[in-house]
């Protein structure tokens, strides 16, 4: 039970971390932009857009994976384009697993960032304006630092959730050892094999520990950031 991890388990752990990290890096800039649009911009269809962003929270992950396959698969409209012009294949690759994970965790990240943006005092941005700061400068020097607690919370939560993404990943990127077999997929595989009970339990405990660690880290980081901001 307490043996060091086997090479296969290590591989699954490494892949999970890599996929979660890539998915976070992929979705962070877009999540900040979407959070900004949802908080600050007023346009027709905003409510619909809001619902669309939150869809992955309520849709079956398999459906998301399937939709991604339709879009980015070999015959998909975007997939064909990417392969032709960038030589990039997403379906059944680690990058594809990261994309599927990013889509699934996107609403979590947007929600956390949006909440922090709503709490940014517009009066401080006005003050920055009177001191000569133009729009982008204002965003970079005032709004973004004040959003930091929410961004940190969003990033860590999305990362922790991304470690365990299953349905969308297995549908879009399949279950290929060393490529897309992340922790939950390895766990599933172990459960399906005749003598895999012990392995499945070890992997389940590992996932449990990682998730807990991630949520605790989020809490600590957010508290630190708030202290810096004097809240």
């Amino acid at each position: 039970m307490l043996n060091p991890l086997t090479p296969a388990e290590l591989e699954a752990l490494r892949l999970s971390l890599s996929v979660a990290l890539r998915s976070v890096l992929l979705s962070l800039p877009l999540a900040v932009l979407v959070a900004w649009v949802l908080t600050r911009a007023r346009f027709p269809g905003r409510t619909l857009f809001d619902a669309f962003v939150h869809l992955p929270l309520v849709l079956p992950p398999v459906a998301i994976g399937y939709l991604l396959l339709l879009l980015f698969g070999a015959h998909g409209f975007l997939g064909a384009f990417l392969r032709e012009h960038l030589g990039l294949q997403l379906a059944f690759t680690t990058a594809g697993a990261a994309l599927a994970t990013a889509v699934m965790t996107f609403p979590l990240m947007v929600r956390a960032i949006r909440l922090s943006l709503e709490n940014v005092d517009r009066g401080l941005e006005q003050a920055a304006r009177t001191l000569g700061a133009r729009p982008w400068d204002r965003f970079r020097s005032i709004t973004l630092p004040l959003m930091l607690p929410g961004i940190l919370a969003g990033v860590v939560t999305a990362f922790a959730a991304g470690l365990g993404e299953f349905g969308a990943v297995i549908t879009f990127a399949a279950n290929i050892p060393g490529v897309t077999r992340t922790l939950p997929l390895a766990l599933y595989t172990a459960m399906q094999s005749p003598n895999g009970d012990a392995i499945a339990l070890r992997l389940a405990l590992l996932s449990f520990a990682l998730g807990l660690l991630g949520l605790l880290a989020a809490e600590v980081l957010v508290r630190r950031a708030r202290r810096v901001l004097g809240r």
Partner: protein
């Protein structure tokens, strides 16, 4: 010269302003809460685009709706000290102070060290805004605005959120600012004491309209101002210079063509003084008084008599200056006062409130 001509509808408030005030100097916007002072300041700052109007500072047009001119806030070079300071919580005091300084394209005339000295901020530099007292916060906000090298400084009730002790701590810094820097200041207040100490020009707002503007001394005699200040606080504002002092703290002031004795311990000869003589502290006599302790018996003539809910207000010309006296209707009948009558206005030296006041040169 700051010229403001604007009409703007903002919620239930219909703002209408038309005035021009000399610069540099402190232009006080005075009125009750909700009279439109902050709205007017936001229009001057450019934070609120007016429905119509012209804002002009000296030879520069900041807003002209008819000509389609609206200089953006960030290029107006208008420093703004907000009522709630609005310091950036993620920056230290030094980071806050340097925020505007870093971004100004103008020649730096007001240096970092000068502002630290003027506002006493040296010891606060490494602190964060949440570690400051209310008074310190306002001083930092003021320093931050000054360092952005503004052509005009707007201050929206910067002392309103402070208790009396903190107010008295910050006021001298504002006086120093007025007297040492030549930046025009628009100062919003609903405290007449602040106006009395700081203003060189007074603009009165009532329900969104500018109802009068002029010097503090002029407006102190006007019904528009008397209607806004508490009845007990109605009184003439006199401006003069300390001509001589005695050993007991009494000062002889040259006011108009006459002289006035006030108790002003520590006053230096030559200092410009602004003095408020409350109408309820002035006694009128129709004969030269004798054997009284009162230090001021100013000979003059009755200029005007008005009756209102609080009794009778008599204005008396005492030789180049005017004082107001509040008397009862019965006293008016007993003295048979009418316009043009010779009277003596008696004012106790200890009842007057004075402030050293140096008008900015030029």
């Amino acid at each position: 010269m700051l010229q403001v001509t604007t009409g703007h509808r903002h919620g239930t408030l219909a703002l209408e302003a038309d005035f021009a005030a000399p610069t540099p100097g402190v232009i006080a916007l005075f009125g009750r809460s909700g009279s439109g002072k902050t709205t007017l300041v936001n229009i001057i700052a450019g934070l609120l685009p007016p429905d119509a109007g012209v804002i002009r500072l000296d030879d520069q047009v900041l807003t002209d709706t008819a000509a389609g001119v609206a200089v953006p806030v960030e290029r107006r070079r208008v420093g703004y000290v907000f009522q709630d300071a609005r310091l950036f919580p993620h920056l230290t005091v030094e980071g806050n102070l340097r925020y505007g300084l870093k971004r100004t394209a103008a020649v730096v005339k007001i240096g970092f060290d000068e502002v630290l000295a003027l506002l006493g901020l040296g010891a606060l530099l490494p602190r964060r805004p949440h570690q400051l007292s209310g008074g310190e916060r306002q001083r930092v906000a003021l320093g931050r605005a000054l360092l952005s090298q503004p052509r005009l400084l707007l201050m929206d009730e910067p002392l309103a959120s402070l208790d009396l002790a903190r107010r008295l701590e910050v006021l001298p810094y504002l006086e120093a600012l007025r007297d040492r820097l030549r930046i025009p200041i628009v100062y919003v207040s609903h405290q007449f004491e602040e106006v009395l100490r700081l203003a060189t020009h007074l603009v009165l707002l009532e329900a969104g309209k500018v109802i009068a503007h002029g010097t503090v001394a002029e407006l102190s005699l006007r019904a528009e101002l008397q209607a806004i200040v508490v009845a007990d606080n109605v009184g003439a504002v006199l401006e003069g210079r300390v001509a001589g002092v005695d050993a007991d703290g009494g000062a002889e002031l040259a006011v108009g063509r006459g002289s006035f004795t006030a108790s002003l311990p520590g006053a230096l000869p030559g200092t410009a003084i602004r003095l408020r003589v409350l109408a309820r502290d002035v006694i009128l006599a129709t004969q030269p008084p004798q054997g009284l302790s009162v230090r001021n018996a100013l000979a003059g003539t009755v200029r005007d008599i008005t009756a209102d809910d609080d009794g009778v207000l008599v204005s008396v010309d005492v030789g180049g200056a005017t004082v107001l006296a509040r008397i009862t209707p019965a006293a008016r009948r007993a003295l048979a006062l009418k316009s043009g009558d010779p009277v003596w206005a008696l004012c106790k030296a200890v009842a007057t409130r004075g402030h050293a006041f140096r008008r900015p040169a030029g």
